[in-house]
């Protein structure tokens, strides 16, 4: 399955890129998407995850074509 991965803010800077396109096995989780995209880098503490623009847990599963985003705690307002 092909997943579009996006990074924001400090995490985007740390990754050195805005997005990735990764292939994962069916039934893969958000955490598996991270592992595939980031290689050995563990998911930083406090990182928030979203699937198709809705907050999701790392244990949530993804589907082909999903957009998965990773970002630090939000600081708007």
């Amino acid at each position: 399955m092909s997943i579009q991965v996006r990074y924001f803010a400090a995490l985007r800077e740390r990754m050195g890129r805005e997005h990735d396109q990764v292939d994962v096995f069916p039934e893969a989780t958000v955490a598996a998407v991270w592992a595939r995209a980031a290689g050995d880098t563990p998911l930083p503490t406090n990182t928030l995850c979203a699937v198709n623009m809705e907050y999701a847990e790392p244990s949530a599963s993804v589907r082909d074509g999903d957009e998965v985003a990773f970002f630090p705690p939000v600081t708007g307002g």
């Binding site: 924001f8 979203a50 907050y55 939000v74 600081t75 708007g76």
Partner: protein, 145 residues
């Protein structure tokens, strides 16, 4: 119910004047509660020269709509307006405007505060400060309300 993400500077009072004049609220509302958050020139012991506000286009709008709907289901809101700045900001620039119109004051007070707290704790925006002493730093987390 209107949500605007704006890359240009805005005057919250002008926004409210324009919005209310164009609205069809008439004389149905007795209460308007407004919150405006603006950029200070000082944060966590440092003079701040400028700020960049990043957001997740698409998710941010959708998330703000969701919290407006939550507020609408909890209080008798007649209307609400959220304007949030993104891009390059200077000290004293307005960052966010939240306004709620209702028949009676308790709903307006409660809903506007709810919207601000939800926005700050969960809407995908991120601030990077440019310090007068040099260098940039990402704001790590929002203060509790």
């Amino acid at each position: 119910m209107t949500i605007v993400i704006r890359p240009q500077a805005f005057d919250p009072w002008q926004e409210l004047q324009d919005y209310q004049r164009a609205s069809k609220l008439g004389a149905s509302f007795g209460a308007t509660a407004v919150f405006v958050g603006s950029m200070r020139d000082f944060n966590e012991g440092e003079t701040v020269q400028a700020m960049r506000l990043e957001h997740y286009q698409g998710m941010t709008e959708r998330h703000l709509e969701k919290i407006c709907q939550q507020a609408q289901s909890r209080w008798d809101m007649l209307d609400c307006l959220i304007v949030h700045r993104v891009g390059e900001l200077r000290p004293s620039d307005p960052i966010v405007l939240v306004a709620v119109w209702s028949a009676h004051r308790a709903a307006a007070f409660d809903a506007s505060r709810f919207l601000m707290e939800e926005l700050k704790s969960s809407a995908p925006f991120w601030k990077k400060e440019q310090l007068a002493a040099g260098g940039g730093r990402w704001v790590e987390k929002n203060s509790p309300g």
